[in-house]
Amino acid sequence: ASTLVVADLDGAAMGPSTLSAVTAAGEIGGDCTVLAVGDAAAAAECGTVDGVSKVLHAATDSYVGGETVAGAIAAAMASGSYTHVIAASSNLGKNAIPRAAAKAGASPVTDVIEVHGEDTFVRPMYAGNALAKVRNSDAVKFMTVRPTNFDKAGTGNSAAVEALSMDADAASPEFVSASQSESDRPDLSAADVVIAGGRGMKNGENFGMLETLADKLGGAVGASRAAVDAGFVPNELQVGQTGKVVAPNLYVAVGISGAIQHLSGMKDSKTIVAINKDKEAPIFSVSDYGLVADLFDAVPELTEKC
């Protein structure tokens, strides 16, 4: 095999999900080349990742979207011979891999969680309620891998960086502006700690209590669909099959009964805590630590003591 790993870059730095994608490439085997589209310093950093034999740097100051990166992938494939094109299941990977695959007439395999040799992969479907073992027969296999399922590769390598020229894509949008979340809280999908509230919160104002706990633990606030449907919080906070799928180190479900569609969105969290006054709530069947209590007493006490 000969893999091309499309790096996630974060301005002048390499994004950490790149390290997981390189590990997945290592499990496939063979030679590993990293494609870095954007900043030169970030591309150089990709050369420090263990297992990388070469970095292709496609320099651009313009917006790096799926259109541009798919063009860079095509340029890399024209300059070398690859059996696999791999990216993390990040914003960049989710945009670039399918676009590049369609151009190559290939069927992407997305969100891979296990590699079984060169052509067989395991991926979730139905929000992780079923796993599919998929064999891909395309000449060049295009895939995205879920970063949390692959360890981060080590660093200390010094692979050479080569310039790659690519044509500008006329379809590529221009960057206008970016806005991070208004608060200092981390993004829900990337947070190490998520404090989520359900219908038991009774109203939107009571979510302030969860924000205080989230701030103390450096986490993000989420919600169940029931809380969103009841109008307590905006739907961008929704965790679940029709919302965001999260897998933090610590997930605290407060006043959430645990409907199947919510469980799908958080059951891969490392440690799950449930606080609910109904001891029959299904959420307790997936939680590591359950506390049967009135959340309006328990949450302030937890905030004070943790």
């Binding site: 989710k94 891999i97 490392k270």
Partner: protein, 252 residues
């Protein structure tokens, strides 16, 4: 502006799916089916464009078995003007892959020449999340994916990213848009509109009639359920919880 919107019939989001006995697929027998939630958002966006007099016609397209016509009727009841049903007996959760779907939609787009194509960001059955980007790729047009807000006057789209949102200006139409969760909140079809939708036209044709050659690189060897999460313990009080989180799980 004419808008083409994709709608997919999938297992309802509230159903707990089970793997079939042969471990080749999820069991779809006697399971409640609904419109894919992200497709509902796409339809809502298209209908709002019609109501704002920005879109002249909203065409809903669905690919699937006979019963997908019901999903198209729902889109028509929400406000789409007419439907196109591309019929197939292939399972749309795993046999008909995103490349084939993108090819079919590209062919429909060639025949209908819409200015904007709005799809859901992913379907909640196969969870591939590829169709929008692949369709845009085959059509060589911009892909405005994970849209949280679309402004057709300014040609800008606010997109969900890994860390928040970004606003980009797309070079123009035609373009493909994929709907993310906060783009809008879809309406429920009202009874009078459901009645009216029965009179709207749905054109049905098979993939063969459309003249699209399918290509599928993925073969599902096995479908299985993830290992169940082991049930944990109940703690007595907040002190007990804090102790476990600090000393056993080491997460705080």
């Amino acid at each position: 502006m004419r808008v083409l919107v994709g709608v997919k019939r999938v297992v309802d989001y509230a159903v707990k799916v089970r793997v079939a006995a042969d471990k080749k697929a999820v069991d779809l027998a006697n399971v409640k089916m609904s419109m894919n939630p992200f497709c509902e958002i796409a339809v809502e966006e298209a209908v709002r464009l019609k109501e704002a007099k920005k879109a002249t016609e909203v065409i809903a397209v669905s690919i699937g078995p006979k019963a997908s016509a019901e999903t198209l009727r729902t889109a028509l009841a929400m406000g789409a003007d007419r439907g196109i049903h591309i019929t197939t007996d292939l399972r749309t959760d795993q046999e008909l892959g995103s490349l084939s779907v993108a090819k079919i939609l590209a062919k429909v787009a060639e025949e209908e020449s819409p200015d904007a194509i709005i799809l859901g960001k992913q379907s909640i059955d196969g969870d591939f999340g590829c169709t929008g980007s692949m369709l845009a790729s085959l059509m060589d047009v911009p892909q405005c994916t994970f849209a949280a807000k679309i402004d057709f006057d300014a040609s800008t789209v606010e997109r969900e990213t890994d860390t928040g949102t970004e606003i980009v200006k797309f070079p123009g139409l035609p373009a493909v848009f994929t709907a993310d969760l906060r783009l809008n909140e879809p309406r429920y079809a009202t009874l009078p509109n459901i009645m009216k939708a029965k009179k709207k036209k749905i054109d049905a044709k098979s993939i063969e009639d459309l003249g699209v050659e399918l290509s599928e690189g993925n073969e599902v060897l096995e479908v299985f359920e993830p290992p169940p999460r082991e049930a944990g313990i109940l703690v007595e009080d907040v002190d007990g919880l804090v102790d476990k989180l600090k000393n056993e799980a080491s997460v705080i």
